[in-house]
Symmetry: C2
Subunit: 178 residues, 2 copies
């Protein structure tokens, strides 16, 4: 039905192959026949985990170099090669917070920046919580903080929570509460 | 309070300067003193517009080369140099849908991919709607579709709506309705 909006690939140029992302430049044929360029970031995909314990949402403070500041996010991380999002969700939650989830239920997935990147984030809800072992990656420094929904709303107001997946998660919990 | 999580920049290398995004590689000093690399995409920022007319949410179908498929999104676009997000919101809405908004009210902003990009999306709510002039960019092909909230929920289920800002917008409207 929307096939007439498609762009055909004429040429793909690899610009950069990195540790986490790759950059490509595509020459495309537009629906009107003319040519254009598209800059595209390839990303392995990621998970975000909504974990509520004793009525508090579990967040982690993390310095984000791209933003130059620390923000509080739901536990999250990128997929290892060949790893299923469900396994990744439980792994990242335990690594970053020390909370072990007996089950992680899929909620939804979304592309974060469809204009220039293929990053797909899968959101899971952690359940059957017990104590596990915190063991962040060697180049990852995070600190756990637990907030009520009111505190989360205040974090959004003051910019402590400032990313799409965490603001989506807070909205999701507000919707459940109503 | 969270200053001890900060990473110091040791070196910044420009990898690519593009039409929409730039890519940099930062060498950083981690909190534990060791070094690591961060790949960072620079983006000018963008807006997304929640526009409800006669009880229907206004979306646009657009082919996203990064995803290789058409998805339905709230009207959106990147900031022109020096442009305020509020002006950009009204401009993008009119260009993509032909709807002119007498006012655009700021709702929130979020970073889409804090792990590797500085893209900040500002969400506005369009009001005082009247007819304007559709005039998409020369390399942008979009098609308007109007959906009820139930139809939007079905679009999320079948993957027609599949990006963070639009899923945030749908949840926001669901929350208003309750």
């Amino acid at each position: 039905m929307t096939d007439h909006l498609k762009e055909e690939t004429i040429h793909t140029e690899g610009i950069y192959k990195g540790r986490i992302i790759d950059l490509e430049k595509h020459t495309v044929r537009l629906p009107n026949g003319s040519e254009s360029k598209r800059e595209i970031v390839r990303h392995p995909g990621a998970v975000g985990v909504i974990c509520v314990r004793n009525g508090k949402l579990i967040l982690v403070y993390q310095f984000r170099k791209a933003l130059g500041k620390v923000i509080a996010e739901i536990p999250a991380g990128k997929l290892d090669e060949g790893e299923s999002p469900e396994i990744c969700a439980a792994r990242e939650l335990e690594e970053e917070t020390g909370i072990k989830a007996g089950s992680c239920k899929f909620l939804c997935s979304f592309y974060t920046s469809p204009g220039f990147a293929d990053e797909l984030v899968h959101i899971y809800i952690a359940d059957e919580l017990e104590s596990g072992h915190k063991s962040a990656d060697e180049d990852e420094f995070v600190e756990v903080v637990e907030v009520s929904l009111d505190e989360a709303a205040a974090f959004i107001q003051d910019g402590t929570i400032h990313d799409a997946k965490t603001m989506y998660a807070v909205q999701y919990l507000q919707l459940q509460q109503k």
